[in-house]
């Protein structure tokens, strides 16, 4: 019992540490992010003043970096769903130290992704027209509904399992943190004391959200792909698009989660809880998704490429040999095949190897979104010379600002909210210690079972 007590104490101290101690590097990092964000805001103000003429987009390639980044962000938002919902459903106990981070990514990247659609609008001042005059027939409206639903659901899903940890912060932190933080903990811990009825309520709420959020997440990225697939453009006119986008979303979500895990582990000394095992397991999951992506690529390209109907020939030429060949082959080899090798081969199957694979995948998946959007629009519809698209400094700056905002929100979240799901880790630890596990006080669906992972 004594050993468990000190173990528990150490876990709580580790979870509390980021909120209590702030280093100089933290301020430097925030200052850097704020500077990039300010630059992005300046670029956006230029765009608001002069219009989208300051971008590289023109009538024939009418979507570019903004829509690419939108699809990318919505994609990585699937990190939270996969790790915390799918792994929770399958009762994989090893997930517990990383769930909270995954849920952070989901909420923050959804907000950033939605922002990029608004940035892309020619008339952001008329945004409310989508609600006032919205038509159910339009894929854009499907997107608005799906993304707002997903954002609401994932915020709830972030909040519910955090309640016991917020109560822990509420009880442990008075006198150590500013008053506004304590106020947040008091409000959001909603009077949690951890008695039986509270545990049961939370358990059924988590179980319900966990089951709801999986179909919502799948629908979101399917609908995002339908913005493209509902048009009469050759490269987008594909039945596989929805499934392909969902797979790509989970794939890139895992990659971003691995990167964030590595960073937070280093900065906040979480080595005891986030171990090589977590990197390996997530690496295996990422590899599984990479194989689905490879399969999806082959399946789509062989059915089209065998016949080369219509503009298929032009598209394949630009993708495999022409303007986009560098991007495409980096994506296919550097983003799909090499990461598989890095996570599977025994020599690189360690933290470094997996993180390197995750970085490759993240970059590759952004590039994949880029050539889906831009190469898709470049295929000529009428007898004219194919257009070209070069993003301008405004687009690069706004995009950098968007990524800075993403990092900033995560940074702030980490400083205010518990990065580790303390109660879940503790439960998992206890059930692993005392085998066979005692009858859990939380219903089966939520309690981590013995020997999970």
């Amino acid at each position: 019992m004594e050993a468990v007590g000190t173990w528990r104490e150490r876990l709580e101290q580790t979870a509390l540490a980021p909120v209590v101690n702030t280093s100089r590097w933290y301020y430097l990092w925030v200052a850097f992010l704020l500077a990039v964000l300010a630059w992005g805001l300046y670029a956006y103000s230029v765009q608001l003043r002069d219009g989208l003429i300051v971008t590289g987009m023109r009538d024939r390639i009418s979507w570019g970096l903004y829509i690419t980044t939108f699809v990318f962000f919505i994609g990585i938002s699937h990190a939270g769903t996969l790790i915390s919902a799918i792994l929770r459903v399958t009762q994989a106990g090893w997930r517990t130290p990383v769930t909270r981070m995954a849920e952070f990514i989901t909420a923050v990247s959804l907000a950033c992704g939605a922002m990029f659609v608004i940035i892309d609008l020619g008339r952001p001042d008329r945004l409310l027209n989508v609600i006032i005059h919205g038509r159910w027939q339009s894929p854009i409206v499907w997107d608005v509904v799906a993304i707002t639903t997903y954002l609401t659901a994932s915020l709830m899903y972030l909040f519910l399992p955090m309640i016991p940890d917020l109560a822990l912060f509420r009880d442990r932190l008075p006198g150590k943190v500013p008053r506004w933080k304590l106020w947040i903990y008091r409000i959001f811990s909603v009077g949690w004391v951890g008695n039986n009825s509270q545990r049961r309520s939370m358990a059924s709420a988590i179980a319900l959200m966990m089951l709801l959020i999986i179909p919502i997440a799948v629908s979101v990225h399917t609908v995002v792909s339908w913005i493209f697939a509902m048009t009469l453009r050759e490269p987008w006119n594909s039945t596989i698009f929805g499934a392909f986008f969902v797979a790509g979303a989970i794939f890139s979500g895992i990659a971003v989660l691995i990167i964030l895990m590595a960073v937070l582990r280093k900065v906040y000394h979480l080595e005891e809880y986030i171990t090589e095992k977590h990197f390996k397991y997530l690496g295996f999951l990422m590899t599984a998704m990479a194989m689905i992506m490879i399969y999806g690529n082959l399946s789509e390209f062989i059915t089209v490429g065998y016949k080369l109907e219509g503009e298929g020939e032009f598209h394949f030429e630009q993708l495999f040999l022409g303007q986009f060949a560098g991007f495409y082959w980096y994506y296919f080899i550097g983003g799909l095949i090499v990461p598989c090798l890095l996570t599977l081969l025994p020599w690189t199957r360690n933290i470094r190897g997996v993180v390197l694979a995750a970085v490759l995948v993240t970059v590759a998946m952004w590039i994949e979104r880029y050539f889906i959007v831009v190469a898709g629009l470049r295929v000529p519809l009428m007898p004219y010379e194919p257009a070209s698209y070069t993003p301008t400094w405004v687009e690069w700056s706004v995009m950098a600002g968007g990524f800075a905002l993403f990092a900033l929100l995560i940074t702030i979240f980490v400083k205010v909210f518990p990065i580790l799901s303390v109660w879940e880790i503790a439960e998992e630890h206890e059930s692993a210690e005392q085998s066979p596990a005692p009858a859990p006080l939380v219903p089966e669906a939520v309690a981590a079972p013995a020997g999970g992972g």
Partner: protein
């Protein structure tokens, strides 16, 4: 969770199982009732904000049989030489640009030079195809682009949010965006804006050929028909089965069926209202192997204040 150990929990008396579930279901029910009015929210908002519904200007034109006219365009490619013989830019495009003050580089009716099977070229003047199954109207999130009873597709630039999904959806590349503040000559500022004329152009919105139904109702022909020196473009009404190029009045159905007329990308089932009679300008003496045409000009652009050039 300092008090939240497993031990403290078990000391409490067990509550009746299902109590929380009942509460939960109750709240869920209240939630559902609360969310029920959401679908009518947009119409409430519309009422409160008193937004006018967009439609074309006036009532639709009626054919002699009392039915609404169904505007159509028939382009006789045998008579189109891309204005090679005139030595000018295509005059349909120029007239359209003059009439609508369409900003550079928009060519609402664009004369494409397409290759023929035997290596020569043909000229294809291409306005908006006014589809009866319009992909652009289907995808618009705010009904800024809409089909009219006369069978045309219009855009209300006062409602358009500039998301450009219609441009992605149009299979004919017939939609154009005001990427910046569009250059406008002084006289255009005096015009009364309507979705049927789209003058003056508005920043951050989509534009395209409007098929000039306002002119047809007033008894004149669209700018492009008037501008064509070879009378290659017919404008008419499928309901009354009548079409004219400004010189002669013909039966539209007869003109179409006797000359193997076709529509662009028929296999997409967009059902365009613009028909083509195959040819390469041979009726006005053009040789298929004489390639090239004069580049389009925007004659009024010099009078426009603050005009900026942007390329497609």
């Amino acid at each position: 969770m300092s008090e939240g150990d497993h031990n403290t929990g078990s000391e409490e008396p067990q509550e009746a199982p299902g109590l929380n579930r009942r509460h939960f279901l109750k709240y869920l029910g209240f939630g559902a009732i609360g969310a029920a009015p959401l679908p009518i929210l947009p119409s409430l908002l519309r009422k409160t904000l008193d937004q006018k519904t967009v439609r074309s200007n006036g009532a639709p034109a009626l054919a002699p049989n009392g039915q609404i006219r169904q505007w159509t365009m028939i382009i006789d490619l045998r008579y189109c030489d891309g204005c090679q013989s005139q030595g000018t830019p295509p005059q349909c495009t120029t007239a359209c640009i003059e009439g609508h003050f369409s900003p550079e580089p928009m060519e609402w009716i664009e004369v494409y030079e397409a290759e023929l099977p035997g290596d020569g070229t043909q000229f294809i003047p291409t306005p908006c195809q006014q589809c009866q199954n319009p992909p652009c109207v289907n995808v618009c999130p705010v009904a800024a682009t809409f089909s009219t009873p006369e069978g045309t597709v219009l855009i209300d630039q006062n409602r358009c949010i500039g998301c450009r999904i219609c441009m992605a959806a149009c299979p004919y590349d017939r939609r154009f965006f005001n990427w910046g503040s569009p250059p406008v000559p002084p006289e255009a500022l005096l015009a009364d804006y309507s979705a049927e004329h789209q003058v003056p152009a508005k920043k951050g919105t989509v534009m395209k050929c409007d098929f000039c139904p306002d002119m047809a109702r007033a008894g004149t022909l669209p700018y492009c028909v008037q501008g064509c020196p070879n009378d290659a473009i017919y404008y008419g009404d499928l309901e009354e089965d009548i079409a004219t190029n400004g010189e002669e009045v013909v039966s539209a159905s007869r003109l179409l069926s006797q000359n193997q007329a076709y529509r662009l990308k028929e296999d997409l089932n967009t059902k365009p209202r613009v028909y083509y009679i195959p040819g390469h300008g041979e009726a006005v003496g053009r040789d298929a192997f004489t390639e090239g045409r004069q580049p389009t000009e925007w004659p009024w652009i010099e009078r426009a204040k603050g005009a900026r050039e942007w390329k497609r």
